[in-house]
Symmetry: C2
Subunit: 427 residues, 2 copies
Amino acid sequence: MPLDEALAAKILKAVDDGFEAQIEYTKTLVRYPSRRGEEHAVQDFIFQEMRRRGLTMERFAMDEEAIKRHPGGSPFSDTHSKAPIVVGIHRPKAETGRSLIMQGHIDVVPEGPEAMWTSPPYEPRIDGDWFYGRGAGDMKAGHGSMLAVLDAFKAIGMQPASTIYVQSVVEEESTGNGALQCHLRGYKADAAIIPEPSGGKVTRANVGVVWFQIDVAGFPVHVREAGNGQNAIEAAFGVIRKLRELEAQWNEKAKDDAWFKDQAHPINLNVGKIKGGDWASSVPAWCTVDCRIAIYPGEKPETMMRAIEDAVARATREDRFLANNPPRVTWNGFTTEGYVLEPGSEAEAVLARAHERATGETLLPQLIPAYLDGRVYALFDKIPTLNYGPYCELSHGFDERFSIASLKKSTGAMALFVAEWCGLEAI
Amino acid sequence: MPLDEALAAKILKAVDDGFEAQIEYTKTLVRYPSRRGEEHAVQDFIFQEMRRRGLTMERFAMDEEAIKRHPGGSPFSDTHSKAPIVVGIHRPKAETGRSLIMQGHIDVVPEGPEAMWTSPPYEPRIDGDWFYGRGAGDMKAGHGSMLAVLDAFKAIGMQPASTIYVQSVVEEESTGNGALQCHLRGYKADAAIIPEPSGGKVTRANVGVVWFQIDVAGFPVHVREAGNGQNAIEAAFGVIRKLRELEAQWNEKAKDDAWFKDQAHPINLNVGKIKGGDWASSVPAWCTVDCRIAIYPGEKPETMMRAIEDAVARATREDRFLANNPPRVTWNGFTTEGYVLEPGSEAEAVLARAHERATGETLLPQLIPAYLDGRVYALFDKIPTLNYGPYCELSHGFDERFSIASLKKSTGAMALFVAEWCGLEAI
């Protein structure tokens, strides 16, 4: 039942009134350099903030064995985060509404060389409508909006009339195991909403992601003995060329995909990181390359993993160095499927009404050619999963930033969504 | 005047008798991990060892300004060694012979991943005739042989009858500035001998070397926004392809070189080290590549430096990423000329006799397509410079090793050379 007009207006005003505090809270989140494995301090801060708001708190580690057994689990590597997952549980006086999972990830990707930033990446900076900082858009703005929604209800003497799990996870940027651990913990709800920076659209579908590392290691010599093709770094380039061919083949298949058929290049291979050799005058005997590639929703990661192994094998046959020193492929992160928000769900209809009331605009769907934690709830809980949040630019880049106005709108829309989906009751 | 047969035999026997102690001394040298900048401890050890033998000791730093002004100076970078140069000076009772510079470098190149070694690189290991260890061949075996020669004379109650500078230098593997600093210090002699691992041959000519670093840095984004060609790592590959073309052109010119005309590939470009990007799912905005290339003796390094800049400029014109983000070339090591040991010198004739007597074989000349410190004495002191030492394999590689038998022979030959060149007097 659509929300009462007067109540909706009160809620939006409460979001407005609390917005300055919400921005301050977002600044605090950005000040924590919560790179992979370094999310401990910010998770403790969030624990305190949730507890202060009266949520029932849970804090737990990942169960590596259970994740390994689950089809949605990604491999653990040495760099896997050991930071806890923090969940605040809201229980109503009377469970009259529909339950909800709200989730945000607190991990951020590395900031890279600080000299390439206009201002220090973990010192939040506001310039007009832009809020700058590593992780500001992806996704501390959205993360902070979850508590801002609850604060807005409290400001008008209300609270949700159903169970809400507010989940602060890690490993969203590398494996998706944090979200999966919440699922394995047993939290269940009628819908999930994740305020990733979707630019005020709702995500209709996304891709699966596979991470892999290629190690080339072989026999090195003094440069004076070097012949061409005995160089591990340049041998690695040969592997990358084959992987670019693989990427092109997979983009050819876009036309057969129900969702990505109109996208020019939905499958992006990224050669993200490289390291090799020790000395300018020693022929490098080792080179390690970290890559990421995508798969269409509905495809299994194993299909791509076999295709990657085949591409590496082809490169190996064509290169003298590789033929003598076959490269090793390691799965050191994401091996995840994409998901689809099937059109027509009641949850999406509720969000569409909320969005229209908060912004005056029609809610549009969107395709995201990147990993999203929403896949856990869509694929394994089979519940409507709404990926919806503010507008962000240069996520993963230098001078990452989000639009402050867009955050106010998406927070308002999320508050109206929660009010209608869960119902409200007096405190 | 050729050495007296009986004296020569006594000297060779003394070298033999001292050889066990020489190997122990070499082991001690190898145990010091004297990578670039980390030569302080071993230089102090060598200082003590030379002083104990009664040499007059000098220990001094490099004069960066003087090196910069000298045409043979290489640029200083952040990683330039600050370890001292150690020189022991032998003065005879009566200066009746010809003076000599004996020089060895004590710096070693990085060992690389230790897992690729059969045994730990700084734990000397002997297996049959092979002595294993990082720097064992290049050139701690030869370095130790300098003092072994003086020890052999002492064992028979003799000492050289002319001034000898025994110079232990650093920066041989990266700039050649250590040797140049000895020249700037003002040491002068009638010849120089450097027991690099030449495999029992004398070096007729070597190449000059230029080190350079290429920095590609630009505008990064989330992988989902990535188009091809926006990747700093792959853009760097484009630069390397142009540098390989440059290398091919320079090898074409081999046929015009007086010394290297019969060599198939004297000019080796080495792509020695690469580092780029921060995260598998972030498009890399930076990549740094360390390279080394050679030039024919007689060519100025500046000629190659301009050619490198031109090759990088060509790559920049052909690549979208580079066109928007022109790479930076930094000269961060060697900018040195090659040298020639002109045939017919008396010093070489003395070495040939010494070699033949110690080994029973004719001394053969050899071309080395790598940097040698000898260039300082050949080019700037214009004295005969003999690069002559034991047989080594896999210098700069894993499981670097030298032949113990070859070291005994080259030490014997060097002792006979010194005895004839400098003359001997009773202690």
